[in-house]
Amino acid sequence: MTDIIIHCAVALLFPPLLLGVIGKTKAAFAGRVGAPYFQPYYDLIKLFRKGSVFSETTSWVFRAGPVVTLSATLIAGLLIPLGHHDAPISFSGDLILFAYLFGLSRFFTTIAALDTGSSFEGMGAAREVTFSCLAEPTLFFTLITLARISKSLTLSDILTHPTPMIWLASGASMLLLAGALFITLLAENSRIPFDDPNTHLELTMIHEVMVLDHSGPAFGIILYGAALKLFVLGAVFVNVALPFATGNALLDWAIFIAAMLSLAMTIGIVESVMARLRMTRIPQLLVGATILSAFALMLVLR
């Protein structure tokens, strides 16, 4: 019970911090002081207080978009285990639901973007769906591989299953998986090298350009949803990459949060040392990731 409460609390409150950490890291690399860690929270609070501007072209779809996205992401967040504690909702086959929930959120984000009738947002939507369509098989390959390893169909087992033994047993495939997962993580959350969250040229954006017209609480919801998504996928990655579990519940939570923070830092580092890829190169990278994960599956299946 406590676990569930903690789970919900962490899932609800923790995500924006990741953004903060990433920002701080990047600032550090750039030799700046950078915004405080809790800046994202301030932003959110402020956004929820702001009034909003709607374009005349928009319809109810535009308003519904962020909401659906957020709710889908929340459910997804309830599906995954955090720090080796089972997820609140967990049943056999939930990994598919997990994947499809992201599909749902994507669907609504993109149609909300198209609702504005702006060519830039259309462009962003097109890129979003295309790239994530390429990223999807990767996710599945990884999940299947893990399922195969853990002989189970529930995310909780799948993700809490990895242990040092397994890393020793099938290290190669696990390594491949981790790599593939990380790439997917970056792509799905539209981070560098796929997309630059805080670029200023709409032509080069993917995710940011889709939400140009959202303002006020809606934009807040979107930012929060994005953070949540980062958190959820990050959690998956951490679970795979960090197979250590002490018996102690609270300790596990601590380890988990630490791991998440370090993941955020890693992302920050990656973002500050790498440059954004050219749009045309992105599909190649994604397909590469798919191949990695497929290879991992092969290794496990033989």
Binding site: S59, I96, L101, L114, A126, T130, C133, P137, L153
Partner: protein, 644 residues
Amino acid sequence: MAFSGVPGLALHHPARGQRIAAFFVVIASFLGEYAVITLLNGSTGAVYQIDWPLPFGPALLSVDQLSIIFLLPLFLVAGCVSVYSVAYWPARKHSSAGKLTLFLGIFAAAMVIVVMARNSVLFIMAWEVMALSAYFLLTAEQQSAEVQRVGTVYLIATHTGTMALLAMFSLLRGTIGTFEFPLSHSLSPSVPVASVIIITALIGFGGKAGLMPLHFWMPGAHANAPSHVSAMMSGVMLKMGVYGILRTLSFFDALPVWVGWLILLLGAWSAINGIALAAGQRDLKRLLACSSIENVGIIFIGIGLALVGMQLQAPYLVVCGLFGAFIHIINHGLFKSLLFLGSGVLIHAVGTREIDRMGGLARRMPITSPLFLVGSLAICGLPPLNGFVGELFLYVGAITDGIVAPLPLAALVAPVLALVGGLAVITFVKLYGIIFLGVPRSVEAAHGHEATPAMTVPMVLLAAGCLVAGLAPVLLVRLVTPAVALYGDLAAPVIAKVTSLVPIVPLTIANILLVSLFLVIGTAYLLRLRRLPRSRGATWGCGYLEPTARMQYTGTSFSEMAINVLGAIVAPNRRKPRLAAAFPPAGTRFQYTVTETVLDRILTPIFEVVGLAFSYLRRVQHGQLHIYVLYIFATLCVLMFWRN
């Protein structure tokens, strides 16, 4: 027998008759549904025998669990469509309305008989009647050259398929010695012609079902038929092909494993290829037709999994595959008909099928647009709608097997489905977004109007079906369980054991949770909005101050990127112009069209070559009388010297 009520609408006067006909169909469908439900609840379908004076033995009609799977959507769609047609194809506007109504009735009745026939000749007759009436339905606007062309292509395709079926049933007759269908699992595949039978069946039925590479007739035909007809054809008629294959395969008790793999591969190919084609379409109904290819592909993936499973005694595969296939059959009947009816409304309102000429219709069509959205979500297989249920089964089947059973390869199905799902999202985001959202891209779109209740009510019905089936998947499972039990001849406990693996109840919970969450956040958000100041302005043009409607992203440009990535599959025809002058860029336009590879690049050339060869052979008939006499003489000599 309730089914025979369907042709009741064969009377065709102008408008009034149309109404009466529609009324009849609705009654008939209600009776039909009722009968089906009663049959579903235990009571096994009675067998009707007609002693016709044809030399093919008695004509048997009966209904078993397998038939029911197909009868359910058939009656539902038939009822909806007939109501819809009254408003969509009014007799006072179209002279062809009478003909259309007549053939619609015959069409539906023929399909009912197809599903019920237990005598191969009766089956073939009903089958061909169905195909022909479909031809007359889709050539309703026979004045236009395009309609004519696709009609001809369709007719030739379907008739060729029928010939394959004739061969197949003759072989079957030769094997079992009677024209009646053998009992299921009664034939051993070791009979010499078994593989030939299966191949011919695949050709004949697969062509009708739109299985690649025999799909070439479909996009054109579905695009050019009146929308409610396309709804019938795509929602129901394709399934007849599926039914045929299922029925044929059910005759054999243990099929060679290659059959399963073959069907699985064909299914996967159709799924990926079909949706990739769909992504590139500019024509609303063509797009829907291509996505039908995809869905049929998914169904066949399920069947293939099941067959492979049967061969390898892997109950997981069998059960999940069958469940997936059957559920998807029903679902596709629901949402594809919904979408086609919706497209009919659109065409009515805008007067074009060009996606790129629509836009901003959501606000002009407050009823149609949410319905269409439901359809799109469902067809993408997104929760909480029904499309997800079928796919879930397939996933679970594939992955479960990847884990426990001896057939890891099946696990590869999952990524394929994932890719298909992703592409489907591209396609339907484009479809919905470009058509209903943004600003109108043409004058017609600007003056689009909502349809009459007669057209919207059936759509509401279908959409409701999608929602209910999605939120309570247990209903679907309940519907198809008997069929699965019959088809895979599995014991109930096995099925129960496997289905327990598939999260039906949790899924329901999750779905409800999702919806409620959506409502909570939504209301919260709206309340918040109400309290905060709001203002309206133009869309942020990223610094460009006069954005016009023509600057919006079109469907073409939306899917251009995806098409580039998928170029290998869909082989688009690009027309890349060279810029006339660097500045100002003179009127140059870049465009690409996705081609019907099979039709345009393979079949048509073959036809031309053959035609040429024939025209040389035709020289034999040169009009020289004395040479003709010589022919006679030559024949005489040949026969003289021909010692057998």
